[in-house]
């Protein structure tokens, strides 16, 4: 006997133009049987009426098209961020506003550790908001001289460690000669480590072990709880190594009946040839389940703008810094794109600087001419500095874009006065231009770089405010309607999942975001304050309060 539940809600925003608003949705076998009035839905036969949401607003389950499982894993370490942030268990961690405050926070955490050798690790430090004050090993030695202590910056590209950590890594010595490791007047490293090369040898000693940062069971569970709290039912893990081991673990964890999200991990193109990467991803694709969608690739063209490692076109960086770094060569990308197109594998490519975007457009154009595949939906991720001409080329090649709207809020002021200057800062993450040119668009958080929360991301794209409260790029604001589309169907489209998720209509997954307020009824500046009750994922109800 098939079971049908009909959920009654105060309002259901469907994102289906044929029936944009309704009050009832019928669910059978985890999928949507129909929407409409109770009378209309009764035609399907027996049902149970579920009134749980009678005073809530339902939206399609939100889709985060660029995040990392690490956003969940990091919470096992001490949160040292400047802004308040919600942890996977729903506790608010207050932002710490000074370096002294960060040290005190770590001291408190230290006093609770029993094992004297266990490393103590903090994350999300952002001295940009603290007059760019530097933290040295002397500061962190105040936390503990005996156990290794490390604090990772919000950018993920700087690590501060104490003397013990340097000692364990064999670096507390004279004669260390590395551009990423500044030395103090005593000739010893100051404990500041810049860039993955310098961080690498020390990070394992302070508890940032690479394998544990991705795909372990606890991390995945924490990540999925964060999804429920932010209304997300489908989320990407945008750069995973996807080893045999981690895939097995992900399959096991996501298969549990209580696992509340659909994870879409993309295999990172790094450390293996294009051919091997395609072969691996083809074999993974066959192992996909409803809640673990394998078979996509993420490539990285350049670095970051605030790290001055993004590849810029003329006139380059405002402060005259030399052009950034290629992380993957045009030749390697060309091979990857050709093989991926020929094998029906989708590639998402990280570009930050506008020269990186230009290079990817050139390279992809050549590949597409050689292997003319329709509906490939190759997507540019971040793509923060693209101009109108580049969006036109994306449109002409049927590419998609996923813009980093949150970045604009957190680091927009930095870009305005330090990295790229006013004109380019105003056009960063040009959502309006993308839509005007007809490029299918999503917007993202890149959690843990910024907090997971598509409604906050929508708020960023609608208001374009920076931390200092300035509107940056009035002309690139988008409407609430467009922003809500971007965090549902827009993101689903970039993952080839728009036939299954992204709107509330017959045949799709019963994935809903359950909200306390109506995002179409409050004004755009309040989008970020919408309270989230939880989610329905595949017909299963998850209340944030009771996870």
């Amino acid at each position: 006997m098939v079971q049908t539940s009909i959920f009654r809600a105060k309002k259901i925003i469907t994102m289906n133009p044929n029936q944009p608003e309704t009050t009832h949705v019928a669910v059978r076998d985890g999928r949507i049987l129909g929407t409409g009035t109770l009378e209309e839905l009764a035609i399907w036969g027996d049902y149970t009426l579920d009134d749980t949401f009678h005073d809530k607003v339902l939206m399609p389950g939100l889709v985060e098209g660029h995040a990392h499982v690490m956003a969940g894993t990091l919470w096992r370490h001490v949160y040292c961020g400047y802004f308040d942030r919600l942890d996977p268990d729903g506790n608010i961690w207050h932002g710490t506003k000074t370096i002294t405050g960060v040290i005190e926070l770590l001291q408190v955490a230290e006093s609770k550790l029993k094992d004297p050798y266990m490393p103590l690790t903090g994350w999300q430090l952002d001295p940009i908001y603290m007059d760019n004050k530097r933290i040295t090993r002397d500061d962190l030695d105040q936390v503990s001289p005996k156990r290794p202590v490390g604090v990772l910056h919000a950018s993920g590209h700087i690590l501060n460690v104490n003397s013990k950590a340097l000692e364990l890594a064999g670096l507390l010595k004279l004669g260390v000669n590395h551009p990423g490791i500044p030395l103090g007047p005593d000739g010893l490293p100051t404990g500041e480590l810049y860039g993955p090369d310098a961080m690498g040898p020390v990070s394992t000693h302070v508890g940032f072990d690479r394998a544990s940062m991705e795909g372990d069971a606890d991390g995945l569970r924490a990540f999925s709880k964060m999804c429920v709290r932010s209304g997300v039912t489908t989320v990407t893990d945008l750069a995973a190594r996807l080893t045999e081991e981690s895939v097995d673990k992900m399959l096991e964890v996501t298969e549990l009946p209580t696992f509340p999200a659909r994870i879409v991990p993309l295999r990172v193109f790094m450390g293996a040839s294009a051919k091997d990467t395609i072969d691996l991803v083809l074999s993974l694709k066959d192992r996909s389940t409803d809640r673990l969608r394998l078979g996509r690739i993420k490539a990285v063209a350049d670095g970051s703008i605030q790290g001055f490692s993004a590849r810029m076109r003329w006139p380059g960086y405002l402060n005259g810094a030399p052009n950034g770094l290629w992380y993957t060569s045009p030749a390697q990308l060309a091979e990857l794109y050709r093989l991926a197109l020929a094998n029906g594998i989708q590639v998402h490519t990280h570009t930050n600087g506008d020269e990186a975007t230009e290079m990817v457009l050139d390279t992809f154009a050549t590949a597409l001419n050689e292997v003319p595949i329709v509906d490939h939906r190759f997507t540019l991720q971040h793509c923060q500095l693209a101009d109108a001409a580049q969006f036109r080329r994306m449109k002409n090649m049927d590419m998609c874009v996923n813009l980093f709207a949150n970045h604009h809020f957190y680091w927009g002021d930095e870009h305005y006065r330090l990295t790229v200057g006013p004109e380019r800062a105003n056009r960063m993450n040009a959502c309006h231009t993308a839509l005007e040119m007809g490029v299918p668009m999503a917007i993202h958080s890149d959690a843990p770089i910024t907090p997971l929360g598509p409604l906050f991301t929508a708020w960023c794209a609608v208001n374009r405010l920076t931390v200092s409260g300035r509107i940056q790029g009035e002309g690139e604001k988008i409407s609430v309607q467009d922003a809500l589309y971007a965090i549902t169907l827009g993101a689903a489209y970039t993952l080839h999942l728009d036939s299954e998720i992204g709107s509330i209509e017959i045949g799709k997954k019963a994935d809903f975001a359950v909200l306390e307020h109506d995002p179409t009824d409050i004004s755009g500046e309040n989008l970020k304050d919408i309270k989230i009750w939880g989610t329905v994922q595949g017909g299963r109800i998850f209340e944030a309060r009771n996870l």
């Binding site: 890594a169 064999g170 670096l171 260390v176 000669n177 590395h178 551009p179 990423g180 490791i181 860039g195 090369d197 310098a198 690498g200 040898p201 690479r210 790094m270 450390g271 293996a272 040839s273 294009a274 051919k275 091997d276 590849r311 030399p322 052009n323 770094l325 290629w326 992380y327 993957t328 060569s329 045009p330 030749a331 390697q332 020269e355 290079m359």
Partner: protein
């Protein structure tokens, strides 16, 4: 006297796509002469090792005839180097094949942080036929120029595919970018292994000065005691592009024994505890190490010209 208490020497080999890195690695493996080499590649994909050299392979390590191995380092070079050290294979030299977009000096910086290994030199391979076009590439230009500038040794490959005049023009252009790095012309990536790996020093030390170093010449300097050893090392590296490599011992003004190592434009002078006889073996191309070139050096270091040995082997 293998490493004088230093770590295993590490060479970073780079060059843009098509310069001939793969051929050169195979050439070095074929002519390793009993030296145990470890080749670290970014990825196994387009396997750089000729099949007939491979004895066994698994996911992690490819075993190669003569005790050499090849491993991939993926995205974590320091972990791979630590792993090599832990394998305890009594390696003589590690060769890292850097990707075409890598900044070799950054890789060498990371090598310097790992215990058990020590930076030897950055070798950049250049395709004589295509380098100038590649250096004008819309996207790769600055990356390629930065690699050329970072080189301690520049290997000018495929010189048989250009005229003598063209080779001269390219050499002049390379020298204008990097005035200190010796430029070594080769064909088919066949560089003398001694140039890249520097093991001639051991043979010279073991058997006396006149040794077969195939097409190269050696010069053994016998410096006076109590000289400025740092200045000597720097002079050899910076003022004598004809000196491809140099290695040996000298005694500094405080009476300490110093190991001098020069690879092209890179030099290192560090205190060693062993008491070994003073003497520095220099390696040059063909007959380029002529006595008269060194007059200034001899003068600078208050050396007696007659006491210096110069050996040719052509």
């Amino acid at each position: 006297m293998k490493n004088f208490g230093h770590g295993i020497p590490v060479t970073v080999l780079s060059g843009y796509l098509g310069a001939g890195k793969t051929t050169m690695i195979n050439h070095l493996l074929r002519n390793a002469n009993g030296q145990k080499l470890a080749v670290l590649v970014n990825e196994f994909g387009d396997l750089p090792i000729d099949e007939d050299l491979i004895e066994a392979s698994d996911d992690e390590v490819i075993s190669i005839a003569g005790g050499c191995i090849c491993c991939s380092f993926g995205s974590d070079l320091s972990a791979a180097l630590l792993q090599l050290d832990a394998m305890n294979r009594s390696l003589d030299h590690i060769l890292i094949e850097a990707s075409g977009v890598a900044r070799p000096e950054a890789i060498m910086g990371s090598v310097g942080l790992v215990n058990g290994v020590s930076p030897d030199g950055i070798v950049i391979l250049v395709d004589a036929e295509t380098i100038q076009k590649a250096a004008r590439d819309k996207y790769m230009s600055d990356t390629i120029l930065a690699q050329l500038q970072a080189a301690d040794l520049l290997i000018l490959n495929k010189v048989d595919l250009v005229t003598k005049d063209q080779a001269g023009v390219i050499s002049t252009w390379l020298a204008s970018l990097n005035e200190n790095a010796p430029i070594i012309p080769v064909t088919h990536s066949k560089v003398a292994p001694d140039i890249v790996l520097g093991h001639f020093i051991q043979r010279v030390y073991a058997k006396g000065a006149h040794q077969d170093v195939g097409g190269l010449s050696t010069l053994t300097l016998l410096p006076k005691h109590n000289i400025d050893v740092n200045e000597l090392a720097q002079t050899l590296a910076k003022d004598y592009p004809n000196i491809v490599r140099a290695k040996g011992f000298a005694t500094n003004k405080s009476g300490q024994k110093i190991l001098i190592q020069v690879v092209g434009s890179r030099f290192d002078a560090s205190i060693v505890s062993k008491d070994l006889p003073d003497g520095i073996v220099c390696l040059g191309l063909g007959e380029t190490l002529r006595m008269q070139h060194f007059k200034r050096l001899f003068h600078l270091l208050k050396l007696n010209e007659a006491s210096q040995k110069l050996e040719f082997d052509i």
